[in-house]
Structures are given as C-alpha cells and as structure tokens.
Symmetry: C2
Subunit: 120 residues, 2 copies
C-alpha cells in the first residue's frame, strides 16, 4: 500500500469523512507534538524516573544521587542535564556542590497519572 494515497486505502474512510476532517483540525501543531513527545521520552527511562523519585523526597547533590542509585557520577550528571533541559529539575550551586530539586509539581502529577494507569 502507498501511504500517500490519502483516500483510497480501504472502504471505511469515505463513510467517515467528517471525522477525518475533525481529526485533521484537532491535531496539535508540529511544535507541540514534538515537545510533548520529547517530554514523555524523558520520563521513559528508568534511571531518570529513579532520579525523580529520589528528588520527591528532598533536594540532593549529584554524588548522593549516584550513590543512592548505585551508578556513576557521570551517568547521573548526563541524565540530570536531560531532566534539566526538559525543565523537570533545577540545579542550585552551593560551593562545590550542586543541589538538584524538582522544578515544579507537574512532575509528581504526571508520574501519579502513570501509576494510576498501571495500577488500574
């Protein structure tokens, strides 16, 4: 099948052209779609989820997180950067140490929704 043939792919599309039009109009723009996908992609890694769980409890320095999760400082630092770029965590420098904390409480809300789904 050729995906470019937008209307002749099967017998059903002609019977629901109003719906097809509604879908087309309600699709979010490319930028929103990209940001949304990117946000969930960040949540889709167990190291990053673990880091977020750690930060639910308290702000913490890179090395403590690494220690808690049994991973290297470098690995954690790389992932903290990803989380920071997604504005899920924020860093605060105090001398040599950088303390990371959750950026806001959307994070917890999103994770809770995820937990809701898997608990179902």
């Amino acid at each position: 099948m050729n995906a470019r043939d937008t209307i002749d792919c099967c017998d059903y599309i002609h019977t629901h052209e109003d719906i097809v039009e509604a879908v087309r109009q309600k699709m979010p723009d490319e930028d929103t779609l990209y940001d949304l996908t990117e946000l969930f992609r960040i949540f889709g890694d167990s190291t990053r989820i673990r880091i977020l769980y750690v930060l639910f409890e308290a702000e913490m320095c890179v090395c403590d997180i690494a220690s808690l999760l049994g991973m290297t400082q470098s690995a954690i630092s790389h992932q903290l950067r990803a989380l920071k770029n997604a504005r899920l965590v924020k860093g605060r420098r105090e001398g040599k140490t950088v303390f990371y904390a959750l950026a806001d409480d959307h994070v917890k809300t999103i994770i809770d929704q995820g937990l809701n789904h898997i608990a179902e």
Copy 2:
C-alpha cells in the same frame, strides 16, 4: 569514582542520612519502576502520540490511521501493537476491519498533564 561506595562519595551524605534512608524506603519496587518507565516510553514517540490524538476523536481502522498520518499500514500496525500491549488502546474486529479505540480515559489525562507542563 566508584558507584559502589555508597557512603563516601562526598561530604554531604553523612549530614542527611535520615533523608537517604527515607528515599531508600520510598523507592517503588522494581516491577512498578519497570512498568512506569515502559508506559512513558510508549508515550515518548511522535507516531504513537499522533495515533492517540487520532483516537481522541473516534475509533478508527488501521488503514484510516495510516492514511491520516501519511504512513504505511505496517508501521501503524506495529505501533498499535505497542499501544495495545501497554493497554492504551484496544482493538475490535468487524469483518476484515479492526477498529482501534482508546482503552480508557487515563490516556487523555496523562497527555493533558504533559501539555500542562510544556505550556507552563
């Protein structure tokens, strides 16, 4: 640094041992962590997000979704399987055609939370 050295990685961990202990206890078990990560990983792909958006509007057959998104039937079918395994969509066969629909309204809630965050 060796990540196995759970206590001697920096000067701070000793000053917050109560918090470290609290974090340890509140970390979800491995299974939950895996399911949660897996769920968000499924949301973390723009094709799958697009499919979910299409299904917000109405149930639809594989080939219509493919047509709407300008992708091949095979690609969509593969992704529908992923969405089905994550129990985000469900399929209903009617003759030759299989209609897919959202499994429940957690899906919309989770995506809305994501939109909330990026709109912020």
